[in-house]
């Protein structure tokens, strides 16, 4: 079994694969109609590696992320990054995790989850992937996403006394 298949099997145990297709190239239509489809098509699906740079796109909930992380850890993937994306129109903050594999090429798993903007709380995965520690601190720093149970959730790049989350779309100095 190739790496990508076993990764798929591991993820399937946590997040079922869905058939909902995100419109591949909705250029020009504006984001008003799109986000609904993006938000609600929960589940994992395969995407074109050549086009998006990822082989699996997993949309999960905040509660599932720890299980997903355990599943990916079991498959020997490593953490590449954690990023936040602010969607003020939907009043949500998205956290995007990317994982990749050292040996097998073309294995990149993008895990996305959305939390409400007013109370962004996500369980930490720094106990599974130690490298997630700093990435989570960075996401907290920029977006104010609170990673519960994080051992040391303080600002990492901005001064410690900063009282704003600069990468939120509505922030303007």
């Amino acid at each position: 079994m190739s790496v990508i298949e076993s990764v798929k099997a591991a993820i399937e145990k946590v997040v079922p694969f869905s058939e909902t297709v995100i419109p591949a190239d909705p250029a020009g239509e504006g984001e008003e109609q799109q986000p609904d489809q993006v938000v609600h098509s929960a589940g994992a699906k395969e995407v074109d590696f050549a086009k998006t740079g990822c082989s699996l796109d997993v949309l999960c909930t905040a509660e599932q992320i720890l299980d997903v992380a355990h599943a990916l850890d079991g498959e020997q993937l490593f953490i590449e990054s954690i990023a936040g994306v602010d969607w003020p129109k939907e009043d949500q903050i998205e956290v995007v995790y990317t994982f990749s594999h050292f040996q097998d090429s073309d294995v990149r798993v993008m895990v996305r989850l959305r939390v409400p903007r007013s109370e962004p709380k996500v369980p930490t995965i720094s106990k599974v992937f130690s490298g997630a520690d700093w990435h989570e601190r960075e996401t907290y720093d920029f977006y104010g996403v609170e990673f519960t149970d994080h051992p040391n959730l303080i600002r990492i790049l901005l001064p410690e006394d900063a009282d704003f989350y600069p990468l939120r779309k509505d922030y303007m100095p």
Binding site: D25, T52, G53, S130, L157
Partner: protein, 373 residues
Amino acid sequence: MTLPVHLRHDETFVLNLGPQHPATHGVLRVKLTMDGEYIVKAEPVLGYIHRMHEKLAEAGTYPQFMPNTARMDYLHALAFNHGYALAVEKAAGIEVPERAEYIRVITVELNRIASHLLWWAAFLLDLGGFTPLLYAFDDREQIIDLLERVTGSRLTYCYMRFGGVYNDIDDEFITGTRDFITRLRSRMPRMYHDLVTHNIILIKRIKDIGFISEEQCRRYGATGPVARGSGINYDVRKNEPYSVYQEFDFDVPVYSECDSMARYMVRMDEIEQSLRIIEQALDKLPDGPVMAKKVPKILKPGLGYHYSAVETARGSLGHMLVCNGDKNPYKLKLRSPTFSNLSLYGEVAEGMLLADALAFMGSLDLVIPEIDR
């Protein structure tokens, strides 16, 4: 690493290394809890050169972010140029002419050598050797001269464009590069290996220091020479070939000693491999345009998430681009390699001697603006 038995944790003190310190390569601060000469806890403090690149990416249009990419990792600026160009080209579906891809590879690899030479000089400066800096800068200036001829700047290049490169290379550049390859090949064994690599002081300073296991690399997501020095055969150029890297025959140097010497050797071998790539690219260089014909003036890629990875001198650089059909990126996340590489510093430096910890830090090849972005 476990602490030596004689260490008593009740007599510790805090030592601040940086932000201004000759061995930190910029403005990194490490808060060290020391027990005598031994480190009990090391905690890097970042953010001293955070320059809001991700915010600026959202503020300007796609081409307007291009100069910023060079200012993150100024040592391997062209790889950052390349990564960003690839990410946007992927999102907007722009085809790049073959000649442009070859030119990109040649310049990126030249820049990689320059970056490794500078690392080499600075690393030895950390260890107390000043002379190698003069030799390395002599060679590095040759590369800068070549790159300045085609890009117009010495350090912070803004050379790549979406759909090609800014300027075609000329015959003088090609002959100059060939001369440089011969020159560096002839200097490499004597100047670099005899003078430094086989020097007993260097070996004593960095052998068996800074042990990073394969598992640690995976947990922290360390890539590049740090991972390759720990026996992981991972190079984005091989694993997920981008640009025209699949056309070239080159090896990925892997050492499984896991110590600072292994990382040193990986970088020294990479210089040779880069020379090989440049040589092949110059031989195969096709004719044709260096800019794609149909590049829209204002780019508006549709909604989507795009991840693109390139291999910089320090590891795998990722651009995660979220587009929403606007003329500016909705979100650009930069996965900088040294950010992950440095995050294992705290765990590895525990129990080390202070002097060894500095040698270990040098072997990670840190570029602070890239960590802080």
